[in-house]
Amino acid sequence: MTSPEEKPGEQGTDLLAKLFDIRSFTGVLFLIFGIIVTIVGLTASDADIQKSAGLNLALLIGPIMFLFGAIFIVWLLLKPPELLHSHEVTEEDLPEQLRHHGLEAIPEHPGEPGSEPPPPPGRRPSGH
């Protein structure tokens, strides 16, 4: 929704990135938990049921977890996540009182030398 124009070649990674949402993780986890615990419940012995006050708890909790997981997945499909994009820090991200002093060197990413404009002459923010 925020990035309608996707660069060619990035579509694959974007699709992958879209899967990385907390709802997909939680949803899939609960689907798996739900299936396993439901199977345990279906095969529960009398001793197990006796242990938990005469309730077949696994058969109660398993389907609930499955349903829960399904809700997350449906939610995810109905409202796909926005891409988690990393964030360049600018002075706008700081409190007003801290702008313009001490943090002049903010947008600097070693490893991407080409993306950075040359420093103004005579004022290279070095750490020393």
Binding site: A17, F20, I22, F25, T26, V28, L29, F30, I32, F33, I36, V37, V40, G41, A44, D48, I49, K51, S52, A53, L55, N56, L57, A58, L60, I61, G62, I64, M65, F68, L84, H85, S86, H87, E88, V89, D93, L94, P95, E96, Q97, L98, G102, L103, E104, A105, I106, P107, E108, H109, P110, P125, G127
Partner: protein
């Protein structure tokens, strides 16, 4: 300390293969989240504050979940067994009004001013002295408490897997370290969300059992009332002055517990507030604690209630010779009642809660260490990437200290109680500095420092007088309530006195930080539907709370 497993083996959980499978699946998801989020961390803001990008429901659940650690789950159920239903005050009149207050009133100052941590607010509002006190005590406190959480986690691991304690500590520490290093705060919050649902579903069966086996809620309450007196099941009974309710008197509960202690903890603890600062806009930040308050209202059902039921279901718990301490209530109930599969979910939830508790300490520790100590005082003016690297190393260092604390805690089992007590001395004076700083523009630069100092001295003094039996209280709980009233009063007086002898700060210095000058973004000024309105939702949860109090009496 938390479980009796290391002392005689009275309690060990009997896990079947399917339970272990569930655990392994869960923890591979935890690591998976870390790897998936690795690509999203490019700047220090991504690492420490999730790039201020998360939706309110995620930060809201993270907010509440960061607090459901060892102390909460085992400690509150133990208190339920020991003190009875009056412990609900810690939730319904303590935590929840504080969370609503944070969301409605205080959050615009935190989020709107764009401070990156709670100590940073103090630095801008007051001066570096107040800032340093808070930053240093927070850094030390969160590392030590991370160690206590780690120790609790390792005892459970030791009991489950039969591995040596030191190995369990290392294993657990490595786990937390790796997913925080990979994904930063987002990783911690995502895991808190996942953990929250697992804990919830893992603990609910215990509540069901507790109710069914004791003859229904009214059956349980009647029996406890007959055995322990009606104050045990009615939260306000015996809270008059000179009454007998062990939790205390109503003045202490309302002023001490609700206003000072709970407001102090929930509104100034960076491990909590950080979750709200990670929200994507001003309104989401304000909604964060309020969304968290809804599930929080029901947490007593999975902690205090099973604790109280344990008195009936596990006869003799908490008495010498039974082999069970109050802290064992939940694990022992699990062992006795939960069948395979369900037990696996519950134990996974328990482990996940300890781990999330530790991760919350570590992820807030590294932010304060990097921004508030390293950047402000040691190496200012470097590139953002530099601070990201420092943050990662701080994470490693913090976990290392936590490991050492855990090893020390394994030798001195009471150490965690002392630690909690020690750091509780700072809580209330801090709140005093914040609330007065936010609402009284006249409070000056040094007022923060003197307020914190005077308040802390007062809290320590009351505690010491109680210990040497000059002052007497019904219980340790009542002492903390009155101690915090004293701390708040002393702190407030000191702040007023300090402010009177200094010139006030200029409006430019205070912009965004004090009442009347808060900065609100578009999301916070826009007309919102009721379900996005902090005020409507906040009032809703307070009404819910009142209803729950009534419900306890009706039963």
């Amino acid at each position: 300390m938390f479980l009796a497993v290391d002392s005689g083996g009275a309690l060990s959980l009997d896990l079947s293969a399917v339970d272990l499978v569930l655990m392994v699946i869960y923890f591979s998801f935890v690591l998976g989240i870390g790897f998936a989020l690795k690509r999203a961390v490019k700047s220090s803001l991504d690492f420490f504050l999730s790039g201020r990008s998360l939706p309110a429901w995620v930060t809201g659940i993270g907010f509440i979940s960061a607090n459901i650690g060892a102390v909460e789950l085992l400690g509150q159920s133990a208190s339920g067994a020991q003190y009875g239903s009056a412990m609900v005050h810690y939730f319904w009149i303590g935590a929840i009004p504080a969370m609503v207050f944070l969301g409605i009133v205080m959050m615009p100052f935190y989020y709107g001013s764009k401070v990156r941590s709670v100590p940073e607010y103090l630095r801008l509002r007051f001066d570096p002295k107040a800032h340093l006190i808070n930053a240093i005590t927070f850094v030390v406190g969160s590392m030590l408490i991370a160690g206590v959480n780690l120790y609790a986690l390792s005892i459970v691991l030791e009991a489950l897997l039969g591995i040596k304690l030191i190995l369990a500590i290392m294993l657990a520490a490595l786990f937390v370290l790796s997913y925080i290093l990979l994904g930063g705060l987002t990783s911690a919050i995502y895991n808190e969300v996942m953990q929250f649902f697992v804990v919830l579903i893992g603990m609910v069966p215990l509540t069901i059992i507790a109710i069914k086996e004791t003859g229904g809620l009214s059956g349980l309450f009647n029996k406890l009332s007959a055995d322990h007196g009606s104050a045990f099941v009615e939260p306000w009974t015996g809270t008059g002055i000179g009454g007998t309710n062990p939790v205390g008197d109503w003045i202490g509960i309302i002023l001490g517990l609700a206003f000072c202690l709970s407001f102090g903890y929930w509104t100034t603890n960076f491990a909590e507030v950080q979750r709200a600062m990670a929200a994507k806009d001003g309104n989401s930040a304000r909604l964060t604690p309020i969304i968290g308050a809804y599930p929080k209202a029901f947490v007593p059902l999975i902690t205090i209630l099973p604790g109280m039921a344990a008195l009936v279901l596990l006869p003799g718990i908490g008495t010498p010779g039974s082999g069970l301490e109050y802290n064992d209530a939940i694990p022992a109930l699990m062992d006795k009642y939960l069948p395979p599969g369900v037990l696996g979910v519950a134990v996974t939830g328990l482990l996940a809660a300890f781990m999330a508790g530790m991760a919350a300490n570590v992820s807030s520790f590294n932010a304060v260490f990097t921004y508030d100590l390293w950047q402000d005082y040691i190496r200012p003016g470097r590139s953002d990437h530099y601070y990201l690297v420092v943050g990662r190393w701080a994470t490693v260092g913090g976990v290392a200290v936590a490991v050492m604390t855990a090893l020390i805690a394994s030798g001195f089992s009471n150490i965690s109680n002392y630690l909690q007590t020690l750091f509780s001395f700072f809580n209330v004076p801090l709140f005093c500095a914040f609330i007065i700083g936010m609402f009284w523009k006249r409070a000056t630069r040094s007022a923060g420092f003197w307020g914190i100092l005077a308040g802390t001295v007062a809290a320590v003094t009351v505690y010491a007088l109680y210990k040497v039996e000059v002052l007497s209280f019904r219980s340790d709980l009542q002492e903390t309530m009155w101690g915090s009233i004293a701390a708040f009063t002393a702190g407030a007086i000191a702040m007023v006195l300090a402010s009177l002898r200094e010139p006030r700060k200029t409006d430019a210095e205070l912009h965004g930080l004090v009442y009347g000058m808060e900065i609100r973004d578009a999301s916070d000024l826009a007309v919102r539907p009721w379900y996005r309105s902090p005020v409507v939702l906040g009032m809703g949860v307070l009404v819910l709370n009142a209803g729950l109090y009534v419900a306890v009496y009706v039963i």
